[in-house]
Symmetry: C2
Subunit: 536 residues, 2 copies
């Protein structure tokens, strides 16, 4: 166990809130002396911050190793040649930090390691007998964010756990994906986070299934749709909307939206008050790019819904199909068509799920109702498929001796981001309120007056005694009690022990940081009082 005297530690607390720190976690981690900024988006972890970081890493290691994943460590500096093999050298843009060595050769600072791990295994995992295999590392990553912000939440140098799995069959990937999904859930549970595993968009990574893990927090940059009764959650653009009940009828108003996709013009009808989800429209059309028409372009269309020209594809959201005697509004001037039975009247060939989910919608899994929350993305699991192995010729021989590209999954956790997300969820107006599993010290002992021998002696005695079992911090500084209490609240250890006037009789005060509960007890009862608090 760790025990330390605060007078000898680097814990530079601040009274003032730093003016450039926008999020609570950023403000408190700075004020409580956990981190310091060295450049925009680039931070040092001071001793307290480093302890918390290590605890998160230890939890991750335990859960990764339990899945049979093997830890290794790849370099941050990666030869450009590897990124040329997958084409990402040119695609990645300015987020990928690049440098030249003394011989003028190009290198990337690893923003991610798909290329490197694939190059590493492509000569080794050459037979189905060696599969599946999962490899992971905990390592510093680099992304030159356009706008670093929120401290560790969006930095340019940050710590990630990234894992990669390799398979001969997609069923094997499915299994491992589920193992990692479960392991991630355990990691974030053990970190004490209120989080959701969210169905996400596989988008640019070129894979199939993917879930993001989001810690719920008001400053989160993503909106999550989740069920108030089940564990269903999805990015809002990915959330499936259920069709209306059979008995759903509405004398409703319907709106038309117009898009261009390649050379086609698309009309989409949807209920007024809803919003067209362009990801869903794209998926239905099978296109990559969809542009909304301008008001002028819509005018020029001279679109007549009762008699649409052949070169316009007309589709509608599924909720429009059942509307009878409804109204349709078209174009800027909102030309109105009344008494329409949308299922029959308008030559609509396709009804699909084309809108964004809304708060109050039924949950797509049939259990409960949808609510919205903001989330901080702290992890992602991803079925990559053969995107990288094909590009980099990483093949194996299957049971029939046939050469095939490795099937891959990748799995990331933002380690430093998790630290910030926990701080975002565990604080009050006085400071941080760490969960037991991550607190830098479990117990903070404060002698009210260090010049009083009785108090200091008892405090030091408790420090050594409790230190056998828990991580204990002793505030032996010659500061006023008020300063020490304020610092203790700021730092946020779960249990505070105040050694004051009744030290001579063996009485001390125990305060539970998170609840604010205080009680006076005799040192003989102390162990059981603390034990009761150490279950998160």
């Amino acid at each position: 166990m760790l025990w330390m005297k605060q007078s000898q530690l680097l814990i530079p607390t601040m009274k003032e809130t730093p003016s450039d720190a926008e999020s609570v976690s950023h403000q408190l981690l700075l004020r409580a002396g956990y981190i310091r900024q060295n450049a925009a988006g680039i931070y040092s972890y001071l001793p307290l911050g480093f302890i918390v970081l290590q605890k998160i890493e230890e939890i991750i290691r335990e859960e990764m190793n339990a899945t049979g994943a093997q830890e290794l460590l790849m370099p941050a500096i990666q030869p450009a040649e590897l990124w040329h093999e997958t084409g990402r050298w040119n695609v990645y843009g300015p987020e990928l930090m690049r440098l030249k060595d003394r011989h003028g050769r190009d290198f990337a600072l690893g923003a991610t390691h798909e290329e490197l791990i694939t190059s590493l295994v492509r000569d080794e995992l050459n037979s189905y007998k060696k599969l599946p295999m999962t490899l992971y590392q905990i390592q510093t990553k680099y992304r030159d964010e356009r706008r670093p912000r929120f401290g560790l939440l969006r930095g340019r140098e940050f710590i990630m756990k990234d894992a990669y799995s390799f398979h001969d069959k997609s069923e094997s990937l499915d299994e491992r994906y589920q193992m990692m999904y479960d392991a991630y859930s355990r990691v974030f549970e053990r970190c004490g986070l209120n989080f959701r595993a969210v169905i996400a968009d596989s988008g640019a990574m070129g894979g199939k299934d993917t879930h993001e893990f989001h810690a719920l927090a008001s400053i989160g940059e993503d909106t999550i749709a989740y069920s108030d009764e089940s564990d269903y959650a999805a990015n809002t653009e990915m959330a499936e909307v259920l069709p209306p009940d059979a008995d759903f009828t509405a004398d409703a108003e319907v709106q038309a939206a117009f898009f261009r996709a390649n050379d086609d013009t698309i009309a989409v009808y949807y209920l007024k008050g809803d919003e067209v989800n362009d990801v869903k429209v794209k998926n239905v059309l099978g296109v990559e790019i969809l542009e909304a028409l301008t008001d002028e372009e819509i005018q020029e269309l001279q679109f007549d819904p009762l008699n649409p020209s052949d070169h316009i594809k007309v589709m509608a959201d599924q909720w429009v199909e059942v509307i009878s005697n409804g109204s349709l509004f078209v174009g800027e001037g909102q030309k109105r068509y009344n008494d329409i039975n949308f299922g029959q009247d308008l030559h609509i060939k396709h009804f699909h799920d084309l809108r964004f989910i809304k708060e109050g919608d039924p949950s797509p899994d049939g259990r409960g109702w949808i609510k919205f929350a903001r989330g901080i993305e702290i992890g992602q699991v991803f079925k990559l498929g053969t995107r990288y192995s094909e590009a980099m010729n990483a093949v194996f021989l299957d049971e029939q001796g046939k050469s095939k590209p490795l099937i891959m999954g990748c799995y990331g956790i933002g380690v430093s981001r998790t630290l910030s997300a926990v701080a975002e969820q565990y604080h009050d107006e006085k400071g941080l309120t760490w969960p037991n599993a991550l607190a830098p010290y479990k117990i903070h002992i404060i002698p009210v007056n260090v010049k009083n021998d009785e108090q200091l002696t008892l405090a030091e005695q408790l420090h050594l005694q409790l230190g056998d079992k828990w991580d204990v911090l002793l505030d032996d500084r010659k500061e006023r009690a008020g300063v020490k209490f304020a610092d203790a609240d700021l730092i946020g250890c779960p249990v505070r022990i105040t050694v004051g006037k009744r030290a001579g009789e063996g009485y001390i005060e125990v305060k539970i940081r998170k609840t604010g509960d205080m009680l006076e007890c005799h040192i003989d009862e102390l162990n059981s009082v603390i034990e009761a608090q150490m279950h998160d």
Copy 2:
């Protein structure tokens, strides 16, 4: 404890020695599947290599924490402004890897962290009350070596432990320096290394005392002079040479060497067979640069030792002073002067220690005789003084309220280099022979024939049973016994257990990797047999 099945691990052993690996450690770490190269001087640590790395790091952490040092983590990316403050941005040369961010701002990839740590503490360690303090990190460092070689021994991306101490008084630095010196000795002892703490040259770092820790190895790039009876050791250019005994007399031959320092010409007399140590000459003269004259320049001097011109400074090594009836040789043609009593005859104003130490010289500490060895530098402790704090205005208020620059020490261990140095010292012709403290697995269990149920069952049972106490690797691969034995020797776990024909009777064979000793024993005796081997 760790237990693993080899069929599921990434341990890609190789039969052939890689042609581009020059050192034994590099060859064996590649062949035994501990590391792989990703670019010149840039490596991945595969699972086995990563385990050893973690063990070294754990030893370092324990010994650092025991000195009261606090761990933190600084970024690799450092703003150029900090390096401008100390002037090192321009001085450091192409070894310092540099890059620009998307806004065109200059950054260095940390080759070392004096600037960054000084910037971090300069506003915090502002009073003598907060001193001394030692901070350390274990982190990836970057140096663009002109010629990366020997695998992890001279890489471009490597792992270092770097510590920095801050003091109000030089006595405090002296104390902490000694603590770190002792801690380093314990670290390298625990790693099983044959090493020496070597008096070194403080040179370009601008400090005072410094010791380097060298692991003795024939491929070492430095020559060390050490005593065969004491722990005295020094870089050869730093080793003091004792003056001759009072009864030393020699009818010896003396040689003259000529140098230019600034605008002065220097003549140095020394015994034939010795070598002038230009570091010592520089120190006596108090100059930075010393150039040897060419033969032509010596000719032009027309130097007459019996009547030297005033513009030539004449000095001699201390061993020349006592020579009577000796000969002096001058210049290319080796003009000879005979019957000289050097103490009196030649107008020599200064006799100093000016030569390199030689094998067979008495040790400067008076105990034993000097021998030479080659060393791999694995650590350095260094009294920096105020070089960085003055340049960066890192000041504190002393007890009198006076502002003074912080006095600093810095202390480095090459973590990845230590791994290689151990491999360099622990191997034989068959492979690696790890010391217990660093072995990736303590025990390697090999069922001779995995298709034999008795053998496989017993092997698996031992795997689980021994795995409660030790890290155990089970070779469950369907390979020939010879292949498995060869791989086990290559990988180098301290104890090998072979489960073969007598498995049914409970008899197995234990082989000690390092000595090659083998014995057959019953599984009931196994625990005590292994226990006896686990004391390094």
